[in-house]
Subunit: 397 residues, 2 copies
Amino acid sequence: MKEKLKIGLVGLGGRGLGLLEIVILKMKDIEVVAVCDLYEDRCERAAEAIEKSGGRRPMVTRDYKELLHADEVEAIVICTSWSDHIDLAIAAMENGKYVACEVGGAFSMRECWKLVEAYERTGIPCMMLENCCYGRDELMLLNMVKMGYLGEIVHCSGGYQHDLRYEIAYGEENRHYRLNQYKHRNCDNYPTHQLGPIARILDINRGNRMVSLVSVASKSAGLQDYIRNEKKDDKLADFKFMQGDIVTTIIKCARGETITLTLDTTLPRYYSRGFVVRGTKGMFMEDNQSLFIDDLHRPYETKWEKQWGNKESFTEKFDHPIWKSYLAEGVKEGHSGMDWLVLKDFFDSARKRTQTPIDVYDMAAWMSITTLSEDSVAMGGQPVAIPDFTNGKWIGR
Amino acid sequence: MKEKLKIGLVGLGGRGLGLLEIVILKMKDIEVVAVCDLYEDRCERAAEAIEKSGGRRPMVTRDYKELLHADEVEAIVICTSWSDHIDLAIAAMENGKYVACEVGGAFSMRECWKLVEAYERTGIPCMMLENCCYGRDELMLLNMVKMGYLGEIVHCSGGYQHDLRYEIAYGEENRHYRLNQYKHRNCDNYPTHQLGPIARILDINRGNRMVSLVSVASKSAGLQDYIRNEKKDDKLADFKFMQGDIVTTIIKCARGETITLTLDTTLPRYYSRGFVVRGTKGMFMEDNQSLFIDDLHRPYETKWEKQWGNKESFTEKFDHPIWKSYLAEGVKEGHSGMDWLVLKDFFDSARKRTQTPIDVYDMAAWMSITTLSEDSVAMGGQPVAIPDFTNGKWIGR
């Protein structure tokens, strides 16, 4: 195993710089040798951060191709706006670079297939950086499920439930891409944060697969109402946003489970991924941090409020090994450790030249939910088929 | 106003006898003059309860027509099994009797239309006894919404989330009807408990209407697993139940709101109607008894756990007048008072010969969700149209 993995970073907005400064520069076995962004000031800030942390000055470029052609770069991390994720990931694979890509949704089925085919052509792994797959709750539930503690799993729910009104309307970073999504599209534009962990619980692409979905959007009222209250004469005050406030998607799986996903980003609320796992022996609910276990709890005997927060009593027994060792080492930065863990897993795979734990089939399947939900919403909730990106290999994987 | 309203009670199983003994016999202005059930022992128990409470012995019959022909009976209350609700309600209207009917779902669209047309032909009001419309939380939220406190309402969720595994499989009462539903059908078989309160919040049939739905069912695993654990050699141990454990339905409304309904009755869980109301200014969530209000709470400043149960701090200001006066009088029996309140409203309408607060159009629309969800589930989540039972009158009502 080599001493330091040499990586390139493409996209240095809030997320890219954040990952660099908060997580990557603290990893002793990573060297950032190239950074790329269309904006020079961002490149400069990244280069300075690297030098300040004791590293040598990286290659700085506005042209991602230059970065991809640099022999020295072994792996790249993509933190650009959503619409460039897949093109950049494909280009990275074609240049033989291990590639990790920040989360987002797809714009067409065609680009999802192109992503898969680039992997199959090149053999270079591609991992979506779905940090929520490394959340402590999510990993504990994965662990419980694999131990059979919740019985046969029947249904999971979750969503991206995050009041982003300010960021969408006024966030400097997002002016250039998120706002446009809300202006013009109507879909679950950010499905992977809870779909990722659920897909792992339900063995998606590894013995199970998602077969169809329906998606229905509410009206769009939250963003306009917010803008009018914040700034009456804002040029957006009369803009009719196409994005519905709440988009509900129901996915059916080959083994018969259902997954309910919610996009909920333009109404007032507290942050929650609304994670729910339901099995024949028990349930978990994020919104009151509780487990209900068939043998331990009785629906008529227990006052539910007494169980709020009872999750804590299960962590000692059921925390995932990843989190147990992580806690033993001391929690590091980045969304309560999730960013550290997801990047660590990617870098470990790149260093060992092994397959990544989240692979290109997962990335294509998870991202496809956005464009498929867009189709279903447009057709009034029509069910649409979710393709098998593995072409049958999910049965034996 | 007459001294005592004379009523007949049809269906004396657990629910009918319960309402009689716990609620109706305690109402000083109601006289139960006739009781009807196919089982004589049930009739006898009801008659005895009436006599024991100081009333005169009622007419006792196994033939509901006899009860409907009795001149003395002014109103009837139907507590039979689901499949008889609509036929009995129609017969009651045709015999000039005010009719209240316990909750349930429809089996076909045709019977929903027949119900509406019986009302339009006879002019006799018909009310569904949706007690959850009188829940304290539900009425407080209705009050808040009508005061504009939550802004423009965009989305509501709710469901019938009640672990009924024992009752379905072994409940003596239910052997005769609920079990058969789970054996043979796959739909939201009990949609009205949370749809009723949500429909009132969203002005359904009074300025708004439900226009379409999609419904997707998970596999069926909970009931069989339960039976095998309880009694390995049960004759049902190998029965393949058609009813999915979790049925998720998304309803779209004319004004653009979405409603998500969940049927969840065959997996371990605590009881919850999972009531959620979402507006441009705030949200309510039953599962942690909390409100999040745009001006009061900040998603990044407030640790959500601190808000659990904060609903209590809103009751003084926002409790519905119905509940304020009810609490002042002292809470009576029957599902925390809901049964008392719903029956009181029905009996008051019958006594005054006025329209009932929940009317035949509400009953038809709410019950239709069962058969429409059955259609949608059968067609893989296909969207189906929800008819306008008011034939256009919803706009002006």
